[in-house]
Symmetry: C2
Amino acid sequence: MAVKSLINGKSSDEISLYDRGLQYGDGLFETVAVVDETLLCWNEHLDRLQTGCIRLNIPVPNQETLLEESTRLIKSTKHGVLKIIITRGQGGRGYALPERVEPTRIVSLYPWPEHVSKNLEAGVKTRICDYRYSHNPTLAGIKHLNRLEQILARAEWNDSSINEGIVLDHADNVIEGTMSNLFYVVDGILYTPDLSACGVDGIIRQKIIKLNDVCINKTSLESLMAADEIFICNSIIGVLPIKRIDKNSFPIGEVTNQIKQALQKQNIIPTLC
Amino acid sequence: MAVKSLINGKSSDEISLYDRGLQYGDGLFETVAVVDETLLCWNEHLDRLQTGCIRLNIPVPNQETLLEESTRLIKSTKHGVLKIIITRGQGGRGYALPERVEPTRIVSLYPWPEHVSKNLEAGVKTRICDYRYSHNPTLAGIKHLNRLEQILARAEWNDSSINEGIVLDHADNVIEGTMSNLFYVVDGILYTPDLSACGVDGIIRQKIIKLNDVCINKTSLESLMAADEIFICNSIIGVLPIKRIDKNSFPIGEVTNQIKQALQKQNIIPTLC
């Protein structure tokens, strides 16, 4: 794995065993697309990281330091994925917070993932997961390091022709994909599931809501299946139409294409290679 | 921190950044009391670890290897805490499981925690936490590495005279302490909250249920507050009576004392020093 990482500014691939990130998943992360030495939606990623830090009461990392370290890592990078992890650092008695928190700051540059290619633009195949997300309003929206729920949902299939799984919550509301957010169109109106009880409020989701009229609502599986067009989005895949959910087919719609093109034009999502 | 650790059998304090334990909290742990070079309830800890591995689809670690490494670490230890962490190791594409899983096995020996002393046997002060646990039947019972819920509950107070917080779930059922299980006595009958939707099925809880008639039920805060005696338990603190919950006082009861003495006699819980 040709990954380069900085831990608190120093080149390293190893972290203390006693870091609360490992011991308890006590931290947050961001995944940023890198295109031609540019960090897409950098300010939005920093904003969400700050929201997460405030929610978990972790000191907010210095934004200039993060930018300096990230810029150093992505030098000469045409396509890549920058991952930032902020943990609460070491210390504390069990779950209790340390008296003085010194967060750990990890910035890693990964190669562009091979499976995310232009081929996916013809539409992705998805399935409905059996696993159901828990309601947790305190943790909903932020990108924290407790990700067993996503792992359990993603572990349900290993057919490589299935690109994503759609996850519902315990109340049978459609929430999102295991690693993406979900939008759908009915009679020309754009909808996305409400994430106040669970799910990750993705940066591309935020941008789409900001730039379009979007109805944020509770979504049943029936209403999703009756949609005219559906797409998923995240910072790396950008916007991808869903062509199948289990045995149901969906067309690649005009709204999806328009949104994708507008976001690509504004350099919000990468143009896949 | 005078801690000694073995990672996959080798003395080390550092782990790869790319371990899924750090990236996603993708793993499990056990906390074992060590008294006079003996690992208390060793088989029960191994059983729960195995249950957790099966639930998360992580290969079960070799029990002889774990015992050999733990025995090596605790040599000459009079009082200590052995912590085992098993993660899914490195690899995989995002949340997807690696094709070949090579778990990471971490065994650490910590000094006996200063705050757990004989003084606590006169009863602990507790509070009711505002934070509510989510329902998650798939993760309930096992001791996984996604512990932000406990951290959020424990972060609510830093008055050192408060020893533990009691956490309810979203449906207002009493579940457990942030780091302990809970039992209570009404009219001579012993009760403990049902943990099928959330909570950790502690080893000492399991032993108490095995050795006594216990009614496992949904518990309201009102019924807990009306109890004749209440105690908390875990592998390190053993059995400790609750003398206060917020402003309500409780006596140290006969049932609590009998259970504690029986467990100490059978070397199930440590005799505090």
